[in-house]
């Protein structure tokens, strides 16, 4: 694989931004820094304000439904080429204000970097743009036991698929329902019923992706693709907390099984590629060895499918990970 100088420079630029931010973000969450956070919205030095408004994620494509951290893997074989996986995104919030009665909007600048040379079909895409989050007010039913909110995430970004040398402008939007109730299944937050031994988390998110390719190396890739999309995520975990029973109100996972499925369908496709249905499945299981003071877990994930927006071609692979989280 050959990369031009421009793309490699960008990689190092993003790494240089991500890692200092990551260490600062970690530092920010120390308890001793509590007082500083308490005055977070008051006038403060620009750098502190900047750090307070920086976010790090694996991707902003699922920013409202998952808390997945930046992923970085590196292999250095003695007699072969280095290979690595980086899934990272950085966002800088700069706007958070009501726009009409009952609607609040936040805006952020985002940059994403997805590179995977560990797999057969390499992935290398970076994106930069503007993401907004428009959410409704909180709705309550008459008996005040069901709370709902709807979040929309219109995002406009430039995307560069380095492997296939495709430049795109992409407009995406998810409609994320949040539900918390004393009855039924909650959405985008835990459902803990009965004795609270099992921790359920369900998320169903419809949306769309509008991708306009231009200046592609292969002219046949130029064109517009419109994809309605449905994201489904279900996690089932075991609650470590058992005694006293009242402690089970705080769900602490000891194991977790997850299914993460995304279905896309290109209803409009003016490129010459044959994309119609595409799907992406990630299913896995994690076991938490330690939960305090840091959580350490071992997990195995099976991944199958493709993500055309992030340049991940159709393939399947297993991933074994040890995660350490503060």
């Amino acid at each position: 694989m050959k990369l031009n100088i421009y793309d490699n420079q960008l990689l190092w630029l993003i790494i240089m931004i991500i890692f200092p931010c990551f260490s600062i973000a970690q530092k920010k969450s120390l308890p001793k820094d509590k007082e500083k956070r308490m005055i977070g919205s008051k006038k403060q030095p620009f750098f502190i304000h900047l750090m307070d408004n920086l976010e790090l994620r694996q991707s902003f494509g699922s920013a409202a439904t998952r808390k997945e951290p930046v992923r970085f893997q590196f292999t250095l074989p003695a007699n072969d080429e280095d290979s690595y996986l980086i899934d990272g995104a950085v966002g800088l919030s700069f706007f958070d204000s009501p726009i009409t009665h009952g609607l609040v909007m936040t805006g952020k600048l985002i940059g994403e970097y997805h590179r995977n040379t560990l797999v057969k079909e390499e992935q290398f895409t970076w994106q930069a743009g503007f993401s907004t989050n428009i959410r409704t007010k909180i709705f309550r039913n008459k008996t005040n036991n069901t709370y709902t909110q709807l979040i929309f995430t219109p995002t406009l970004k430039y995307s560069r698929n380095v492997i296939d040398t495709i430049n795109s402008f992409v407009l995406t939007m998810d409609a994320i329902p949040f539900r918390s109730s004393t009855k039924g299944i909650n959405l985008n937050t835990y459902t803990l019923r009965g004795n609270r031994k099992l921790i359920n988390l369900l998320s169903v998110v419809p949306g769309f992706e509008l991708q306009h390719n231009y200046a592609a190396q292969d002219k046949a890739d130029n064109g517009t693709i419109l994809r309605p999309i449905v994201k489904f995520q279900y996690n089932l975990g075991g609650n470590k907390n058992r005694l006293p029973v009242t402690r089970m109100i705080e769900p602490v996972k000891t194991w977790e099984a997850s299914v993460d499925y995304t279905l896309r369908y290109a209803i409009i496709n003016s490129t010459v590629n044959k994309e119609k249905y595409t799907n992406l499945l990630a299913t896995g299981i994690d076991y938490y060895f330690i939960t305090l003071p840091v959580s350490v877990s071992f997990g195995i994930t099976f991944n199958y499918g493709s993500d055309p927006l992030q340049g991940l071609k159709k393939q399947q692979y297993w991933l074994a990970t040890i995660s350490v989280q503060k």
Binding site: K34, V104, I138, K142, I176, T189, Y190
Partner: protein, 375 residues
């Protein structure tokens, strides 16, 4: 016949009167006469008004048809006061909230006790006066036969439920009761009232703690007494035919007690929070003050809602519990930030909570401190 002219009088059961007297003695013993320069009575009367909206109501007995009529009649108050009654109407089942043992609804309507009566305002929440599960508003035998004047009775009793006293007991009312006759007649059937009970229910109230309008005999909160109960008979300034609707003065006072203006709501709540804090410093067993949802409890409740445990007991959420264990997604964090933002916006000045601040909270305790720092 005279006996036929003696109505069933509105009055609390003896047990409730005893509890109120015991509480009054306790307050006198434990509290100074003034709090922060304000007369103690005024503080307590002000604290009887609700700062929860809506007020939940449950029914012990009766059917959905009766509940609907009561709900419809009581809703008249909400046209003029910024407060709503939540009767727990289930549209699919077409039922209203039913009383359950240990019921903690703000107002608990029953039909089994003698007479028509209601506790005043947040006395319904005071476990020293009315423990959970006890009826706080009684409409005798409405479930057997609905009186023709039921709407005015409901308006009157729910007026008490909102925190309004009898107009004929107003400090500026000059009711020339023929006390000798009143004691004598009410001591007999059908009321069998003691002198103390007559005094408790009919005597003029001291001006100290009350916010009052000029005496308004057309108020729905004014009782219609037979003319023989007054020395000057029908010419008494307190004699009136039965009032069936809210008077103009009722509407003004209701809007004053529960204003629609958000800034005024915020000012009143802020004032009451300060009053509660002052009282809590003095009272060993603060009664309804303890029962009233504290800021910490409200934050705990909001955290539980965001974590998908809306029906959970906030008391089980200890301050050391980790927010990251309770909130699984960024949208749950955002939801909590919005809930807490609603909470702090009920108070004036510095009232804003940002998502980044919630993300910075490690424990439940830190989250509570964050909210308190904004009030």
């Amino acid at each position: 016949m005279l006996m036929e002219q003696i109505p069933i009088m509105e009055g609390y059961p003896d047990e409730i009167i005893k509890r109120m007297e015991a509480r009054a003695i306790k307050r006198t013993n434990e509290l100074p006469e003034q709090l922060n320069g304000q007369a103690l009575e005024l503080v307590f009367e002000d604290l009887l008004l609700w700062d929860i909206n809506p007020i939940t109501v449950s029914f012990k007995g009766g059917d959905a048809g009766l509940h609907g009529k009561i709900a419809e009649a009581a809703a008249e108050w909400s046209k003029y006061a910024n407060i709503k009654f939540d009767f727990g109407y289930d549209q699919s089942a077409q039922t209203y909230r039913k009383w359950v043992p240990g019921d903690a609804s703000h107002l608990r309507v029953g039909f089994e006790h003698p007479g028509y009566w209601s506790l005043v305002g947040k006395d319904s929440l005071d476990p020293q006066i009315s423990p959970p599960g006890e009826i706080t508003l009684n409409l005798e035998k409405f479930d057997v036969k609905l009186p023709l004047n039921y709407k005015s009775i409901v308006l009157h009793e729910f007026g008490h439920g909102l925190g309004f006293y009898h107009e004929h007991q107003s400090p500026v009312a000059h009711c020339d009761f023929d006390w000798k006759a009143v004691y004598s007649y009410l001591a007999g059937p059908p009321n069998y009232w003691s002198k103390e009970k007559v005094d408790f229910n009919l005597r003029q109230m001291p001006a100290g703690g009350l916010t009052y309008s000029p005496h308004d005999k057309h108020s729905i909160m004014h009782y219609s007494f037979p003319d023989w109960m007054f020395l000057s008979g029908k010419s008494s300034e307190c004699y009136t035919e039965e009032n069936k609707d809210l008077s103009a003065e009722d509407i003004i006072m209701a809007a004053k007690a529960y204003p629609f203006d958000k800034k005024e709501v915020a000012r009143l709540r802020s004032k009451r929070t300060l009053q509660l804090e002052l009282l809590q410093k003095h009272l060993s067993q603060p009664g309804f003050l303890k029962e009233k949802t504290s800021i910490a409890d409200q934050v705990r409740r909001d955290i539980l809602i965001a974590s998908g445990q809306a029906g959970g007991d906030p008391n089980q959420l200890t301050e050391d519990m980790k927010i990251k264990n309770l909130l699984p997604t960024p949208s749950a964090y955002q939801f909590l930030a919005d809930l807490l933002n609603e909470l702090v916006k009920e108070y004036p000045e510095n009232s804003e909570i940002k998502l980044a601040e919630i993300e910075g909270c490690i424990t439940v305790g830190e989250c509570i401190e964050l909210v308190k720092s904004r009030l």
